[in-house]
Subunit: 63 residues, 6 copies
């Protein structure tokens, strides 16, 4: 613990994902006062057809 | 809020997903008394090999 | 299947939850063409201290 | 109920998944005293680029 | 990895939860060929008012 | 999007949660190049009886 799940749109590079994992791990470790080695992060990538905002898909909304 | 996660078998068309997102957003907004614009929906698609019912996969059960 | 997870703020009545479960089950069954008996819904209630929007908690934002 | 979500690295065979679903269903049914037919299992497969341990991805760590 | 999430009705004893955690850890480790020490299990307890089956809550259905 | 779910042990103060939400929102916004206002964070608090590591609960392990 802690275990973090990040739901985000597909399409990021491996480099962006690594930077995000590193930065979020630091942010969580510092504020919750846990060792970085305890922090686990799961990335769940979504297509814009699979995310709805106010009744429309992100694809329909041009997000 | 609210944020809804819909776990469903893969294979639906974009049109079916849009109709589901629209209908579920309306149902949630009306019954929980929130603006539709607040409602977020995440669709997680599953293969029938990745869903178990009573110890067998949906694929094995011919679902 | 489908299995739906509804994340929402705590404080709704049992009656509101029942109406939401009934309405969302119908909406999902009709649009995804599955029997209502197949639809499962999990409600996860959150305090406003446990939900962040743009870096602030819903409580801080007076939501 | 119960509904189990298994997050695991991608790459297992269908046979391994079936054995895991069968074994976990039995383990849950016996210890929680519910019929096996009530137990649902969702498998979520992850790439090693999408899982962080202590600030590094599983891929970077050679897991 | 793997990380397992177990959604179940509230009301089990600590002893039952420990037995379930031990049995599921073994089942997963053996079938997915990973060390038991890698297996993490999150238990999410639900009230019967917060789980819907076919449009009715588990409470309404007397489950 | 992105929507983050943070699973963590119960017992933190509101202030710690706010600092974590603020720091994680910044980390995600900067590395994934999205506005902070788009970032949503759900906190799920767990008791040490409801988290298993290697077949034992965090409570049994004195975590």
């Amino acid at each position: 613990m802690p275990i973090i799940e990040v739901n985000m749109f597909e399409g990021r590079t491996s480099q962006q994902k690594r930077e995000m994992i590193s930065a979020v791990t630091q942010a969580v470790a510092q504020t919750l006062d846990v060792p970085e080695t305890n922090v686990r992060i799961i990335i769940r990538e979504l297509s814009k057809d699979n995310f709805g905002i106010g009744g429309k898909t992100a694809f329909e909304l041009g997000r």
